[in-house]
Structure formats: structure tokens, C-alpha cells
């Protein structure tokens, strides 16, 4: 749309919105009081696990040495918390089972969605889900994020389209539509859903509630973006002018070509930073490729997934897998540095007020297990997380890490999914 969505009519803010069809459950969860700038969370997924003996650091909590696979993080180690000894228990096996549980802990909703519902009420977008080749040759639709009813959330692989959805105005193909029209269209949607809701049985009610809630989110965006509009300057985004052709233009599409993997990835990461800086959202998920990744970059002569079946941990194939992992770590470093370089409203860096959770769906790639997972944290979560550390959790459940991340974000829960190893967060992680 040529018209900037943020210009939409504010005067209609006085119109009474139709009451929601049902009380949304999250309203009852207590939110910890926060002072200062809001906290942000980023969930970054990279595929196919790791070689544990070449991924995890050695040493003690403050005196540790990074390993081959994480060596690119040396220059940002002070911003990171490295972990080892975290296992994912129960649920499914291998790739499919791992991606279904890494952010859910076998809950129906994933943590990113869960947090987005709780802390995203005051931002135009509760959460954003972005991808880099995440939907390319992903026949099973594997993705780590799930909304109500364990419905998968597929990431948006097109950063130009995603930017347009969030900030509006970039995509020239769209038609300007009046605000009054938009208002009446939204009203009509809600009225029709209400009519349907009175007819459906219990099993479809959840679907319609979710649909209504989605309308609410879009509606709110249309109404509330006026005040902050001027403060947000996104003119620096995509300064290289990367374009994506509309519609079908051959196979693979441009956004799924290996040669653009890094460009797409960086555009997505920039989008996350911009979205945080402009408070368009506070929760973002970035999925790099997908389990059983066909990715080929860096001139490596075997595909990503092929190298993840490396046999000897110190052999030639393993070395290639290490290069792939280092490649993704450099991207992670880019994100961390980006957020570190932006100042937040309280004078701290955006990174200081964020927590980034880097994960994968497997532990040992070749054995396809869910042990000793390659999880790394970055950012201080507004001061809740002390970084520059390495912690070994001795086989504890990764769901405690999910709880800790929620706690860092000011959401006071003591369990998230599997509790077979006890409740609460990870001991020793938070102050």
C-alpha cells in the first residue's frame, strides 16, 4: 500500500470496539512490573544439530575456551551465555520430533508465541516469524513455532514482503484504500465471525476465537500507530536495494537461491532490529533453513544435512559441518552486533534489553539425539541475565531454560511443557 498504515484514522479510536467473543486466557497471567525500556526476545533456529565435542566450550563459568563451531563468537563472548548438558525429554524423535519440541517443550504452544501473546499486547505486532529458506523444499512443513491448538506458524521467507507488512509503503504494487473502508471491512469480518460462532460446535470455536483475535491485532495496528510514527526512521533498511520479483518467476524462486541466503538472512535480521527499535514488536523468531537442510554455501561441496552425518567427529566431513556451523554463527554474531549498536529508549543498547536464544532441533546430528543441545543465549534481558559465562547443566531438562527465558522477559511462570525433571527455571542461570 502506498499509504502508510500508520497514518490511518485515529479518530475512530473512540468507537467502541465490539467485545471479544471470549475471555482470552492470557489476561490472567500476572506480569512482572518492569521499569525502563521493555524487554525483547529473539528466537533463532539453525538446523541439524551439532558435533557436541566440537561445539561446546570447555573450562569454568567465567574462564572458558570456545570450541571450533562457536569460534566466530569469540569477539562477542562477553555478550553470550554458553550452555551444555541440556537435554530435550519426551515427545517425538529425530528431526521432526526435535523441531516440534525445541520451543514448545511438548506444550501445545511454543514459547515465542506464548510470550508474544503476553507482552505483545502493546505493540502493533505481537510477534513476528521470519525465515531464511525456511519453506524451501520443506515438504513436511517443519517449523519450531506453534500457536493455539498446536497449529504450526510458518515463517515469512520474504524480507521485502515482511518489511512491507510491518512498516508499509515499500511495496509499490499495492492499492491505497481509505481508512473508513478498512474500518467497515474489519467490522463486517467480525460480525460474520460472530454469526458463525453461534453455529459452530466446540471444536471449531477455538479456530474462530483465534481468527477473531487476529482481526483484533490487525485492527489495533490500524488504529494505534499514529503517535510513534514520526519517531521511526527506517530509510536505512535495504540500502543495497535488493528486490524480489512478484509471483512465479521460476524454480527455485529468488528468495530461495543459495547465493542470496546471506543477503536474505541479513535483511531479516535488520528487520528485527528495526522492529525492535521502533517498538513494532518485542518478540521475533528467525528460522534459518529447516531440519534436513539442503543448504549449500561457502563453496562447500556437500549439502548442510549431508555434512551433518559426519561419522568421525574429526574427519573431513565433520570439518565441512564445522564450516557450516561457523557460517551460521557469523550470522548470529551479526545480529548481536546489530542490536548492540542501537541505543534503546533508556540509554542502554537494544542488546542489553534483549535476550536471544539460539537453538537447533538436534543435539548430536549423526545420532539424531536430543542430548547436550547446542543452545546459546545472548543479551542481558534488561539486566536479568549476566553474560560472558559458560554453564553446564548436567542433563537437566531444556524446558527449564524456556521457563528462564520467560522469567527474564518478565513473565512469571514456573513451568513450560515437560516437568519430569522438576519445575522452575535453570538453577544458576539468573541472578
Amino acid at each position: 500500500m502506498k499509504s502508510n498504515r500508520r497514518q490511518f484514522l485515529k479518530t475512530l479510536g473512540g468507537t467502541a470496539l465490539a467485545a471479544p467473543l471470549a475471555t482470552m486466557p492470557w489476561a490472567r497471567v500476572a506480569m512482572a512490573q518492569q521499569s525502563g525500556a521493555p524487554r525483547r526476545a529473539v528466537f533463532v533456529f539453525i538446523p541439524d544439530g551439532c558435533i557436541p565435542e566440537r561445539f561446546h566450550p570447555s573450562g569454568s563459568e567465567f574462564e572458558f575456551q570456545l570450541n571450533d563451531m562457536t569460534s566466530p563468537l569469540e569477539s562477542i563472548r562477553q555478550h553470550c551465555v554458553f550452555t551444555s548438558g541440556l537435554n530435550m525429554y519426551e515427545g517425538g524423535h529425530t528431526h521432526e520430533g526435535g523441531v516440534a519440541k525445541v520451543l514448545t517443550g511438548n506444550n501445545t504452544e511454543s514459547l515465542d508465541y506464548f510470550l508474544a501473546q503476553r507482552i505483545g499486547q502493546s505493540t502493533p505486532f505481537r510477534g513476528i516469524n521470519l525465515g531464511v529458506h525456511a519453506t524451501f523444499q520443506n515438504g513436511e512443513g517443519n517449523a519450531p513455532s506453534f500457536s493455539t491448538g498446536n497449529v504450526p506458524i510458518t515463517p515469512n521467507d520474504n524480507p521485502i514482503n515482511a518489511f512491507d507488512n510491518i512498516f508499509g509503503g515499500q511495496d509499490p504494487g499495492n492499492v491505497p484504500v481509505s481508512d473508513r473502508r478498512k474500518r467497515s471491512i474489519l467490522d463486517q469480518m467480525i460480525s460474520e465471525i460472530r454469526a458463525l460462532n453461534s453455529k459452530v460446535g466446540a471444536n471449531e470455536r477455538e479456530k474462530l476465537e483465534f481468527h477473531t483475535d487476529s482481526i483484533r491485532e490487525v485492527e489495533k495496528r490500524i488504529l494505534s500507530n499514529g503517535a510513534e510514527a514520526g519517531m521511526c526512521n527506517t530509510s536505512g533498511y535495504n540500502s543495497a536495494g535488493f528486490t524480489v520479483p512478484e509471483g512465479w518467476h521460476g524454480y527455485p524462486p529468488k528468495i530461495h537461491l543459495d547465493e542470496h541466503y546471506e543477503t536474505i538472512g541479513r535483511l531479516q535480521m535488520d528487520l528485527i532490529t528495526e522492529s525492535f527499535a521502533c517498538d513494532m514488536t518485542r518478540v521475533a523468531t528467525l528460522m534459518w533453513s529447516h531440519p534436513v537442510s539442503p543448504l549449500r554455501v561457502e563453496g562447500i561441496d556437500q549439502g548442510h544435512h549431508d555434512t551433518s552425518h559426519f561419522g568421525q567427529a574429526d574427519g573431513g566431513i565433520a570439518d565441512k559441518f564445522v564450516r557450516y556451523k561457523q557460517y551460521h554463527m557469523r550470522q548470529f554474531r551479526y545480529l548481536v552486533e546489530n542490536l548492540a549498536s542501537r541505543t534503546d529508549t533508556d540509554g542502554n543498547s537494544l542488546l542489553h534489553n534483549s535476550v536471544i536464544f539460539l537453538c537447533s532441533e538436534l543435539g548430536h546430528s549423526d545420532a539424531h539425539d536430543h542430548r547436550n543441545m547446542p543452545f546459546v543465549l545472548a543479551g542481558n534481558a534488561g539486566g536479568a541475565l549476566q553474560t560472558g559465562r559458560y554453564l553446564n547443566f548436567g542433563g537437566d531438562a531444556h524446558t527449564k531454560l524456556l521457563v528462564s527465558v520467560a522469567n527474564m522477559m518478565g513473565v512469571d511462570i514456573d513451568r513450560f511443557g515437560y516437568t519430569g525433571h522438576g519445575t522452575g527455571g535453570l538453577p544458576g542461570l539468573l541472578a
Binding site: T154, S184, Q188, G247, G303, G395
Partner: protein
């Protein structure tokens, strides 16, 4: 090709010679992997310990009348019960330390296995099973749980093991284990270990079975107990990391005997809340002490061994976790039951006329779960003869040889025995009656262990126990319906008295006995009964008895399979309607709907819509596609663009009145709304849209607003299957919902004008009306596209499912080939359904392909040029049928190699609808290392060859390996790593994973020909089409509906269009609930 006669000469020569068991020229593993009574499958694996071989032959003698029917990976000759097998040519070369194997199906399995083998004329050592010791579980890293009050210690069964060492043939030692262990130690130190003896694991199924039946009688006495007292003070003193030795004096109970037993253990505190208890020295258990000597001897005889050691070293590593404070719900104390009071033997009387002995006793206990009768023949070993229910006081058996028999009875509470009753002896001579009233001084007391630990007093097990009752016992016991000379055995009575206790009175299964309700083959059942039943009492029911019982089971217990149709007469079962649902249109549906609604190509607009979730391959699952905010953003954008374009470019087709005319806006709202919502608008809707139109103040703007709004309406986006209440709890779809079902099922788009008119006129009710529409819709290009869509999702071979291929390994695979493969799949499917026989089997028996120049070249077929696909016979004899399609092989193939395991799974899940469970969590399922000297098949065969793996991989590999002539990119090959490709396979469980059919084949053509004969392939097809058409995965309540659909399919001779049309003939096509 070697002359086979040479084998026998060698064999004859070698057999006359020296059979040296210590000769380690080779190691042979001989296994029975399936047995269906009338036949069996055996696999022979040989490890070459000697010099490298260029060719091999293996020979042996069958112990019974076994006859080999077919053999693979070799060639065989059989003369009488002597067998010789030579290599198949491609597997003759075996290096030192290398392995080869072959398998075969045979008739008349005798229950015994050959025990001596000759490799190239020289003797081998026989191994009857796997050698892997039970792998010790790696200890979990310690958990720093906070110190809370400990309520007890519970065994972590997964991290513990309990094993024992057996020695056979004097010098072959093996480690065996039990899989199911439980143990609990309470805070006072009272400890109980319980082992389910049925879970004995020796690595060989048949050996496990024999041990259960003949050694432990674990059907009757399933649990081993060890109870002891642990010094918890010493345990409390241990810090994590500390250890101490302890001597545990306790009672070991098994086989109905309790004995004092001492274990020297090492107790280690591995964490605050973890304790490990390990044997510091092995516990030596003597067979004699537990009356196991007889069972051991029986095992020895059956297996044809020279010896089995009677003293068994036992070791264990038990890991306990503390049950703390708030884990109270997790308390699972393990306890042996209280010891029952000892029964008092009354007498044993023998009736010569029918060679029957009757043992009777007094029931003096009130907590027994049953009684166990033990018998000794002459001075032989004690054996467990039978178990009877609680409160019984009598038992009978027929003796088949004369002599002295001694009996005694114990009461059991679960597996906890009372002290033994005294003994009674009968002298059995045919024709003479005799009896013993139990005041017999009995036998050597050492044969009658007296545990003295009988909390209920009683007689303490003295031999002289003859109180109560009869003297002598010369009269025959009143009959209880057992076999009588001259009378036909009564199957029902035999079942009730000898089978019901284990299998349930109704045959649905019990604690020990499996369910008997699945119908099978009567002959196999009778043979199985003769060979193995009753458990622990084999051979008691043969000939007439087995036939009578088998017939009874077949008549009264086998489940009714329901009425079958024959010819044109279809008897349908009562269907339960499917769920009411709102199914979100997929991108594909949306683009079709826009095309048909406004004549605009919206496929470009849908490229940014969120990708749908896939459920079992299909992307139109109503439960997994919700409208998120992102969906709405995209729908709004698309709707705005389409609306603007529609008004600018398609105005005349959307408007049938003049813009200036009054009432035209209402007419437009009505007309467009009806088509967009696929039903007439109701008055609220009409009013709302008319107001929206008018508020724009300009006719074109009004049109645009209304079109936009309608295209984002839930009434457009969702396919509605809500219906209206019928009053019986069901809902009947409205005529317009029925029209929508028809159009989306057969064309993947909105209803056309004909359907809408039929709905308006309420002419979509009768089966005939529905059938007519279905047939009409199928005869269209849209239907072809739609069914192509179905086929590629069903086979998980759509573009999203075909991964990249390594260009170094598959240089000929490129974008043109890929695209042609996808087009071929759809074209082939359409050809069979619409342009050829229309029959299901042609999908698998076709001997042609659809190729353009690029694909023909890839397939090695000459004479094809241009981009157009055309039908070409595969004169190479390689391709043809769905499973040989390049698209299917490449979509189920890795980037760098073929994928036999995923392919095997794919066929089982998607074509046979057989769901194998995933591998157990703790199992290392890493793939085999690359090896340039082996084929993919050889590497994966070795990797999945273990017994644990074979439980499932028998079914997976038997199909997956058959595809090995197709590489990971769907190309044909005859070698893999310069070794010949082997495409032999055996498909086990053709109709279900629970039954024992199998069929051998070579290559994908034969595989398809075999599969297409099965019922499972066809019923799976019905099921898959149903899933696709209905947008949900069926549950148990859909089973009648699916049966009916499959019945219609079968009735039509498996015509595919009839299957599809048949959907409309189901009772519940228009019903929901």
C-alpha cells in the same frame, strides 16, 4: 555356476570325518525369524574367520522334515533332510572377518534347529544367537536437586540391568538379561526387587520362548523376588561420590521356591538423590536350589547341546532415584505379596482306564491367587505341571507313561509361594488304579525345600501331611468333561477348563494369554496348539483335542469380520458422520476460486500467503490451518488488488445491470455475494454490504469495497461443513454446502453455475443426483489438475518434497529433469484414471512412462524429442508404476545417496497404511559410516541387522532395499560403489504388521506386482482419498465409513473413478456431527 552334486560329496566326506567344535574356521548364526505353523523363515549368517573366500557353500542336516520352498541370496539343493547352499555369484567373495548371509522359507518346521554346519566342507561352530552383552546405559549426569525429605528409593529400570551368565556345551558362555525390573527400598531399608521373568532376553526369540516355557514356567510363576534389609544408616553416611560394600542377606524367590540368598554389593552414592547398587561379586545361583535342574535339562535336550551349566552367576547394576517430598504421587513401592498358608495334600489317585491321575488338597489359605502343582517322575527332576485358580482343590492330568509319579502342591500369591505341601506318590500302570493319600514319608527332604518362613503357621512343610479325607482313592474322579474314550472332545469344555484361565473366558486375553479374537487360518491354529499349548504342559492337547479347541475358537471367539459384499450386492455398515468443520482454503484453492469468481489469475498473489501445515502429506487439514494476523495482512492486500483489477478489467462480466439504474447496486451485491459465499446472502449480510457499497458514494468504488470485503470474509475463506440440525444429533449439510463439497472434492474450486443452480433447486439430495454431479465434475481439465494434486501429496512427491541433489554425484539431474518428473507423476496418474483402464492395479503394473525429451534421456529411453510429455513403453523393463516414478524415487532419496529406510517407511505408511512406531528413544539411530567398499544396502543391512532393530526393520528393509536400483535422484543403476546392486527383498506382514505372511520379489516391478495383490494397498488407497477429500485424518468413528467406501471400491473391481464417485454414495456424505 558350480555343479551342486559336488556339495553333497563333500558333505558326506566331512560328516564321516572329525567334527571339531573348537574349529574357528567360521561362526554360524542360524535364526528362525518367522513361524506360521505350517512354515517358517530362517536366516543364516556366517562370519568367515578363516582365509578369504572366492566362493562358499554351506551344508547341514535338518532335524525334522523341513523342506525349503524358496531361498534368497544363494542357490540350494535338498536331498531328504540334507541341504546344501552355494553363493549367488555376487556374494561369493568374502574376506577374512567378512560376513555373508542368506535366508529361506521352509515347510514343516520341526521346532528344532540344525546344530552343525559345514562351510566349504569344513565344520563351523554354531551360535544360537546374538552375542552383544546387554549394553550398560550411560549414567545420566547428576542432577543437583535440592535436599528434600526422602520417602523411598525407586529403581530406575531404564538405567539398571540384571544379567546372568549361561554356559553351554561346556565352554560357550553367554550373558543374558531381563528387560523388566522393578525395585523399591523404603526408608527403613526394607528392599524388594521384582523381575518379570517373561522379559528374559537372550538375543534369540525362540530361546527366550523356551526359557519362559520350560525353565521358568513364567506363564504360571512370572516374578522373581529378592527381599532384603539394607542398612540405611550406612547409606545416609555416603556423600556423593562415596561408596561402601555391604553384605545383603535376603530371600530369593522363583519357580515357587524361596531360598536364603546372600549378595555382596557395592553401594555408591552417585548424587544426592541417586544410589547405585552393584554386585561386588557375582551371586551364584544353583539350579538345584530352585528346582530348575529339570528345566535346564529340558532346554539342553531341545537345543541339542552337550551340556548347560547348572550354576549360574548373576550380576546386577541397579540405579535408584530418591522419591522426594512432593513426588508423593510417584511412589511406586514394589512388594512381594504375603506368603499364603500351605495347602494340605489330600491324595493323588490314578485311574488306569483313562490313565488319569487326580491330585486333591485342602485349601488352607485365604490370600492365594492360585495353586501350583509340581511333579517328579521316578527319581527325576521336579517340574511345574500346572497352575489352577484360587480356591480350587483338585487337578487332573493324563499320564502317558507308566512309573512312579510324586506330586506336591504349593499355594501362590502372585509368584510368592507358600511352603510346600507334603508329597503323594502314585504308581501308574495302565489298567490299574492306585492312589496315595498323602501320608507317604515322601522323598528325600532335600528335594522338597523347606523354607520355614511361613508367617501363617501351617505345617512347615513336613513330608507327612496326610490330614483329612479319603483313603486310597480307587474310584475314578467324577469327570469334569475331559477327554473320554469313545467320545468327541468338547472344544468349549476344554477351552473353559484349560485355556480360559490364561486367555480369558471370552478369548479376549488375560494376564498371560494373548487375545484370540483375530481370525486366522484354522490349520495353523490347530498346529500351534499342538506344538505349544497349554503353556508349561506341551503335548497335552493334540489331534482331536487340538482340532476341537481350534474349531471352538474359530467358531466362537474369532471376531466377526462383518458382512462382505459379493458381486453387485453391497451391504453397508452403519456410518458415524464426520466432524462439522470450517476448512480454510489453501493457496491453491484460493487461486482457483479467484480464477473462477472473477476471471483473474491470482496465483502470483498467493506466493506470499503463509505456507500450509502438512498432515500425513496433505496440506488441507482443517485442524492445522488457522487464520493468523499475517494471513489477514496478506488476504487484505490480495483482496484489494483483485478488487481493483476486477472492477477495472472484468467489470462487464461482474455486472448485469446498468450502473446508473436503480437497484443495480443491490443486484450486484446479491449476485456477486452469492457466488463469493457460495450461497445466497442472508438479509443481514445483504444489508451490511449494501450499506458498505453506498457509503463509498461512487459505483465503482462501491463495487471495489464490496469485492474486497467479501474476499476477506470468513464465508469466502472457509469451506463450510456446518450443516443444520436434523434432530437426531446429526447435522445435514445445506444444499449449497453440498455443492461446495462436490466442487472442492473433484475440482478444488468453487461450485460452477450448474452446481449452484442444482443447489438452489434443492436437487443435491439423492445418491443418484450426487453421483451424476460427481461424474460430471470429474470429466474436466480442472479435475485432472486436482487429482494430480492429490496424487503428488498422497505420495509426498510434490515439488516441496523433492530435495536438492548433489551435482557431483548426480550430474545429470537438473531443473528440466525435476520439472518433467513432477509433470510425469500427474500425467501418469491422470492417464490411468481417465484415459486407460481406470483400474487401481494399473497404477502399479503399468509398463510405460510419461516422458519428454529431458526425462526420456534421463531414463535412458531413445527417440523422444520436445517438451511435450508422451506415453512410452519402457522396453528396458525397469520402470513403470507409481513406485518406479522418477518423482517418487527422487522425493524419497537423499541429496547424496539412495534412502532405503525412508523408502521402506514411505511404502508402509503411505501405501499400506501401516504405521511403524519410531525407534526407541535411547537407541543410537545414527546412520552407517560411508564406506566406498560397500553398497548402500550392505551398509544399512549391517547397521540395522541387530535383533532389536529387526523387530521393525524386517518390515522396512524388506521393501526399502528393493528400490536400490534407483539412486537418490531417481536414476537407474546396476552398481553402487562398483559393486552390483541387489534388489531382492521379502515383504513381511503383507496385510498387517501382526500377521506372518511374507512374499519374496526381486526389483521394483515384482515388488509392485506383489503389493498390488494385497488388500491393504487397496484399502489404504480408499483411506488416503478420503483424507484428502475430507480435509481431516480419520479416527475410530470413521471405520465403518471407510469400510463402506472400500467396499464400494472393491465392488467396482477397484476402479479409481468409482472410488472417487463412491464418496458421494456414503450414507454420511451430507451428514456431519
Amino acid at each position: 555356476m558350480k555343479p551342486l552334486f559336488k556339495l553333497l560329496t563333500l558333505t558326506a566326506g566331512a560328516m564321516a570325518g572329525n567334527v571339531a567344535l573348537a574349529n574357528q574356521l567360521c561362526t554360524v548364526e542360524y535364526q528362525e525369524t518367522a513361524n506360521w505353523g505350517a512354515g517358517a523363515t530362517h536366516i543364516v549368517t556366517v562370519e568367515n574367520n578363516g582365509p578369504g573366500l572366492e566362493q562358499w557353500d554351506i551344508s547341514w542336516t535338518f532335524p525334522g522334515n523341513e523342506t525349503i520352498v524358496q531361498l534368497w541370496k544363494g542357490h540350494f539343493d535338498q536331498q531328504g533332510n540334507q541341504v546344501g547352499v552355494i553363493d549367488a555369484g555376487y556374494n561369493g567373495t568374502v574376506a577374512t572377518g567378512g560376513q555373508f548371509d542368506f535366508g529361506f522359507n521352509l515347510e514343516n518346521p520341526s521346532g528344532n534347529l540344525p546344530t552343525e554346519f559345514f562351510l566349504n566342507g569344513q565344520s563351523c561352530t554354531t551360535l544360537l544367537g546374538g552375542q552383544d552383552p546387554g549394553a550398560e546405559q550411560p549414567g545420566e549426569p547428576d542432577n543437583d536437586a535440592p535436599d528434600m525429605s526422602v520417602m523411598g528409593w525407586s529403581l530406575n529400570g531404564v538405567q539398571s540391568e540384571f544379567g546372568f551368565v549361561t554356559v553351554k556345551n561346556t565352554d560357550v558362555a553367554e550373558i543374558q538379561s531381563f528387560a523388566n525390573l522393578q525395585a523399591y527400598v523404603d526408608t527403613s531399608g526394607r528392599a524388594t526387587l521384582a523381575i518379570d521373568l517373561n522379559t528374559v532376553d537372550t538375543g534369540i526369540d525362540i530361546r527366550d520362548q523356551r526359557i519362559r516355557d520350560h525353565l521358568f514356567s513364567s506363564g504360571l510363576l512370572p516374578t522373581l523376588y529378592f527381599t532384603t534389609q539394607v542398612d540405611m544408616g550406612s547409606v545416609a553416611d555416603l556423600e556423593p561420590g562415596d561408596a561402601t560394600t555391604m553384605t545383603l542377606d535376603g530371600r530369593l524367590t522363583m519357580n515357587g521356591i524361596s531360598q536364603d540368598t546372600t549378595a555382596e554389593v557395592l553401594v555408591i552414592r552417585t548424587a544426592d538423590n541417586r544410589i547405585a547398587v552393584r554386585t561386588a561379586r557375582p551371586v551364584m545361583v544353583k539350579g538345584d536350589d530352585f528346582e530348575l535342574a529339570g528345566g535346564i535339562e529340558t532346554l539342553r535336550t531341545i537345543a541339542g547341546l552337550s551340556a548347560i551349566g547348572q550354576t549360574v552367576p548373576v550380576y546386577f547394576n541397579l540405579n535408584f532415584s530418591a522419591i522426594q517430598g512432593d513426588d508423593g504421587d510417584n511412589l511406586m513401592p514394589v512388594e512381594a505379596g504375603t506368603t499364603p498358608a500351605t495347602p494340605s495334600i489330600v491324595n493323588a489317585s490314578y485311574t488306569g482306564a483313562n490313565s488319569t491321575v487326580t491330585v486333591s488338597w485342602q485349601d488352607l489359605s485365604d490370600n492365594e491367587t492360585g495353586f501350583v502343582v509340581k511333579r517328579r517322575q521316578g527319581n527325576g527332576y521336579w517340574e511345574t505341571r500346572a497352575a489352577v485358580d484360587a480356591n480350587q482343590t483338585q487337578w487332573m492330568e493324563r499320564l502317558d507313561s507308566e512309573g512312579n509319579y510324586t506330586y506336591r502342591v504349593i499355594a501362590v500369591n502372585g509368584s510368592v509361594p507358600s511352603a510346600s505341601s507334603g508329597n503323594v506318590i502314585v504308581n501308574a500302570q495302565p489298567g490299574d488304579d492306585s492312589g496315595d493319600s498323602g501320608d507317604n514319608p515322601g522323598t528325600d527332604p532335600s528335594q522338597n525345600p523347606d523354607d520355614g518362613d511361613n508367617g501363617n503357621g501351617g505345617d512347615g512343610g513336613t513330608p507327612d501331611n496326610g490330614d483329612g479325607g479319603d483313603t486310597g482313592g480307587e474310584e475314578p474322579v467324577p469327570g469334569d468333561g475331559d477327554d473320554n474314550a469313545g467320545g468327541q472332545p468338547d472344544g468349549a469344555e476344554i477351552y473353559a477348563s484349560h485355556c480360559a484361565a490364561c486367555h480369558g473366558a471370552d478369548g479376549s486375553g488375560g494376564a498371560i494369554g494373548v487375545s484370540l479374537t483375530s481370525p486366522g487360518e484354522l490349520g495353523s491354529l490347530v498346529a500351534y496348539i499342538e506344538r505349544t499349548m497349554p503353556l508349561g504342559n506341551t503335548g497335552r492337547c493334540v489331534d482331536d483335542c487340538a482340532e476341537a479347541v481350534g474349531q471352538y475358537i474359530a467358531d466362537s471367539i474369532w471376531a466377526d469380520t462383518g458382512s462382505g459384499g459379493d458381486g453387485g450386492d453391497v451391504v453397508l455398515e452403519d456410518e458415524t458422520p464426520g466432524p462439522r468443520q470450517l476448512n480454510l482454503m489453501t493457496r491453491y484453492h484460493y487461486a482457483n476460486a479467484i480464477r473462477d469468481l472473477v476471471g483473474i489469475d491470482a496465483s502470483d498473489l498467493t506466493t506470499n500467503f503463509p505456507v500450509e501445515a502438512r498432515v500425513l502429506g496433505f496440506n488441507n487439514n482443517a485442524a492445522k490451518n488457522y487464520v493468523s494476523a499475517r494471513h489477514l495482512d496478506e488476504y487484505l492486500k490480495a483482496a484489494e488488488t483483485i478488487a481493483e483489477k476486477a472492477v477495472t478489467e472484468r467489470r462487464s462480466s461482474l455486472l448485469s445491470c446498468d450502473a446508473g439504474a436503480s437497484g443495480c447496486s443491490a443486484q450486484f451485491v446479491e449476485g456477486f455475494g452469492r457466488r463469493a459465499f457460495r450461497r445466497p446472502l442472508n438479509s443481514d449480510e445483504h444489508q451490511a454490504y449494501l450499506s458498505m457499497f453506498d457509503a463509498e458514494g461512487d459505483f465503482d468504488e462501491g463495487m471495489e469495497a464490496v469485492i474486497t470485503a467479501m474476499l476477506v470474509s470468513p464465508n469466502f475463506l472457509y469451506i463450510s461443513e456446518l450443516g443444520e440440525q436434523t434432530g437426531s444429533g446429526n447435522y445435514e449439510l445445506t444444499p449449497h454446502e453440498v455443492a461446495t463439497q462436490l466442487s472442492f472434492t473433484y475440482q478444488g474450486t468453487i461450485p460452477d453455475a450448474t452446481l449452484m443452480a442444482a443447489a438452489d433447486a434443492d436437487q443435491l439430495n439423492t445418491p443418484e443426483q450426487l453421483e451424476a454431479q460427481a461424474r460430471r465434475l470429474l470429466q474436466s481439465d480442472k479435475a485432472r489438475v486436482h487429482l494430480g494434486h492429490f496424487a503428488e501429496q498422497w505420495l509426498e512427491s510434490d515439488p516441496a518434497s523433492m530435495g536438492s541433489k548433489d551435482p557431483n554425484l548426480f550430474p545429470r539431474f537438473n531443473g528440466d529433469v525435476r520439472e518433467a518428473m513432477h509433470r510425469e507423476l500427474r500425467a501418469f496418474f491422470n492417464h490411468v484414471v481417465f484415459d486407460s483402464t481406470g483400474r487401481f492395479d494399473e497404477l502399479f503394473t503399468a509398463d510405460y512412462v510419461f516422458v519428454n525429451e529431458a526425462l526420456a534421456d534421463y531414463y535412458g529411453l531413445p527417440g523422444v524429442s520436445g517438451d511435450q510429455l508422451r506415453l512410452v513403453q519402457d522396453t528396458n523393463g525397469i520402470r513403470g508404476g507409481l513406485l518406479a516414478l522418477g518423482a517418487v524415487m527422487a522425493s524419497h532419496g537423499h541429496a547424496n545417496e539412495s534412502a532405503p529406510i525412508p523408502r521402506g517407511n514411505f511404502v508402509r505408511r503411505r501405501l499400506m497404511c501401516q504405521d511403524l512406531p519410531p525407534p526407541p528413544e535411547d537407541l543410537d539411530t545414527s546412520g552407517p559410516a560411508p564406506d566406498p567398499s560397500q553398497t548402500t544396502r550392505e551398509r544399512f543391512e549391517a547397521r540395522t541387522g541387530g535383533d532389536d532393530c529387526q523387530t521393525c526393520h524386517l518390515y522396512i528393509n524388506g521393501i526399502g532395499f528393493g528400490f536400490e536400483a534407483f539412486d537418490g535422484a531417481g536414476g537407474f543403476r546396476t552398481t553402487d560403489n562398483n559393486r552390483p546392486v541387489n534388489t531382492y527383498g521379502v515383504i513381511y506382514g503383507l496385510e498387517s504388521l501382526l500377521e506372518e505372511t511374507s512374499a519374496a520379489y526381486d526389483g521394483v516391478r515384482q515388488m509392485q506386482q506383489t503389493l498390488v495383490q494385497t488388500d491393504s494397498l487397496k484399502s489404504c488407497m480408499s483411506r488416503q482419498f478420503y483424507r484428502f477429500a475430507r480435509g481431516y485424518i480419520e479416527t475410530g468413528s470413521d471405520s465403518n465409513t471407510l469400510d463402506n467406501l472400500n467396499q464400494l471400491f472393491a465392488n467396482s473391481g477397484y476402479d479409481l473413478q468409482e472410488l472417487m464417485v463412491g464418496l458421494t454414495q456414503l450414507q454420511t456424505f451430507t451428514l456431519r456431527r
